[in-house]
Symmetry: C2
Subunit: 371 residues, 2 copies
């Protein structure tokens, strides 16, 4: 039985993507890698729906978030950092560590940030330089209404840094149309490649901020990345095999068509949410803002989620994610971004159905189902 990896990244990779990652090494400063780098960059710009500069870093998504912060802010800069969960908190931690004065705009877990709430916060703090937003909060399974939020940020003409790591490539995130200044992502999410690369796009407004930003930076310095990209290189040795994988994975996405992919992701997510409720379980987030890339399920009274996860893995080869940080034990998460089929979701739901009672699930669920 093949592993049904239902976590919100690393996502399973199509066989041809895995095979591509096994290609022999080449000179990372030679003409062949140059072509790959320029090609992958250009495909990503297309899928980011942007004409902005885009850089591919050898780092995980958190590295790209750090790049977003250290390239645009100076110690002492005031920023408005919204958070709706663990990854919003991580963005805050990065900004604070590098000396930003952070106004935190916190939304209760399981809910999305409302554009009007953001507007009021910006009215209360007109002196902030930048706004930090998580597009899709993997820890709670919530998608923020980024288009509306970005519109508010544009009203106030602030710099907008977006953690789109678990959104872009899977759900609409239209960088230029929505005016997103700095947008991060990671190879192991919707792009269906192994982890090891992360991406960050930079608008003209972001470059203006970059020219003034005094936070020290070397490894994540995007000015160096830009200088090297002009000659078809990266400043530091890149994760060549993940580039091979991305090259093939992005072709697959372009062949499916990005809007078709968005529709497929939405369909899989709906199927997952419906199936979970059918089992008598409840979603953790408000359903209206539930993510199309990951479904967070509230752990019912009496259920030992660690035992549930162990049984799912051991007996059904289904791997779901637990809760992170303060959410440990309170929810589990089913990833359905990237390379995922209806069959995968059905298999996951069937395994849940078979396993839940042995993890302490009470019949009340069954009652609710027919209620």
């Amino acid at each position: 039985m093949a592993l049904n990896l239902r976590i919100p990244g690393p996502t399973p990779c199509p066989q041809e993507v895995l095979e591509a990652s096994a290609r022999p090494m080449i000179d990372h400063r030679g003409p062949e890698f140059r072509e790959i780098l320029l090609r992958v960059t250009s495909k990503l710009q297309e899928l980011y729906q942007t004409k902005n500069d885009l850089f591919i870093l050898t780092a995980s998504g958190t590295g790209a978030m750090e790049a977003a912060v250290v390239n645009t802010l100076s110690p002492g800069d005031k920023v408005l950092a919204s958070t709706i969960g663990e990854f919003g908190d991580r963005f805050i931690q990065i900004a604070k560590t590098y000396g930003a004065q952070v106004e935190v705009l916190r939304t209760p877990l399981g809910k999305a940030l409302d554009p009007d709430t953001l507007r009021k916060a910006l009215q209360a703090h007109p002196d902030v330089k930048a706004v930090l937003i998580t597009h899709n909060e993997t820890s709670t399974g919530v998608t923020n209404p980024l288009e509306g939020l970005a519109k508010v940020v544009r009203e106030f003409d602030k710099l907008l840094l977006v953690d789109a790591i678990s959104s872009i490539g899977s759900i609409p995130c239209r960088v230029d149309a929505w005016g997103l200044d700095v947008v991060t992502s990671g190879s192991q999410k919707g792009w269906m490649a192994p982890p090891g690369l992360s991406m960050v796009s930079m608008s003209a407004r972001a470059w203006q901020a970059q020219a003034q930003a005094k936070t020290p930076r070397v490894y994540f310095d995007l000015a160096a990345a830009k200088r090297y990209l002009e000659r078809g290189q990266t400043p530091w040795t890149p994760a060549v095999s993940v580039f091979y994988a991305m090259d093939v994975a992005l072709d697959r996405i372009r062949k499916e068509g990005q809007e078709n992919l968005f529709r497929r992701q939405a369909r899989l997510a709906q199927m997952c949410r419906d199936g979970v409720k059918e089992l008598g379980l409840s979603l953790f987030p408000d359903e209206a803002v539930a993510s199309n890339t990951v479904t967070a399920v509230a752990v019912p009274e009496g259920v030992d989620v660690e035992r549930l996860r162990q049984l799912l893995a051991k007996e059904h080869q289904v791997v779901v994610a637990g809760g992170q940080g303060s959410l440990a034990g309170k929810l589990f998460r089913i990833g359905h971004l990237g390379y995922c089929t209806e069959e995968d979701i059905r298999g996951c739901l069937a395994a849940l159905k078979a396993t839940l009672p042995r993890a302490g699930f009470q019949a009340v669920g069954a009652a609710r189902r027919s209620g």
Copy 2:
């Protein structure tokens, strides 16, 4: 004809290493990855010849150098940074960027740092907190006498940060026996795996410095790495496929035996140096300190090194590296670290012999050969 990749990293990977890197994704916070992480860490400690903590970062070697600096120094700390080439200069750049007060100890290109010179510099600057040393300088093909240099640093009881990216795993670098505090390396060098991971070991003395170091850090924070490693995880999503590759590559090294490997590397290097001189070419560095991982060859009068490299690649599938920075056009470099055989060196030398005259090489070389 297979590519004869003779650059000092990425090095060619054995077929079983490439195949391993194509394995399907798994949960990076699950039991299977935990085992891989602990196993690879432990094998690396063995090959580092250390009982110190060792962390594997998803980043290239420059990221590990940055980790070494930001985890042990505070802005304003005085450091003695030795440099014998481009990578020493990079270490200096990182230390300066993060606010260290850097005393530069520069050795002419092509030569190694003499322990007595280091002793005098430390006598002249008794207030430095740390010493920065490049073990093997890839840009000039020189190996520093690290054992002797480390002994001097120990006399003065300073913290010793070592860039061992192109040395450890290929030539002796005995971390505990020599008292090296922070030692960096990269997966794509002697370890024979694809790029994407870098390593850094931390001595007890380094941890003491870490506890006081005020340089901001998130992505490269080794305290976070330590906390997560205790539960068999990395703080941020790791480059899983490069871990698969490292796991297999390190077994290969252990099977050969590390001392056998060091002898093989020395033999290949000698063969390369002899062959190059036989062709009438000169080594760039002093032969007494010439590296056993990369041979830097001085570009003879009249030779167009870019044309030479193009002909080698196009007609012989032999890829050698050019000169970096100020050394562009002055030398070319033949890598022989990692997965390399006598046949590879012979092929490279034969291709050079066939190609050199067409790149402008004069008969004076032939004369010298018989002189």
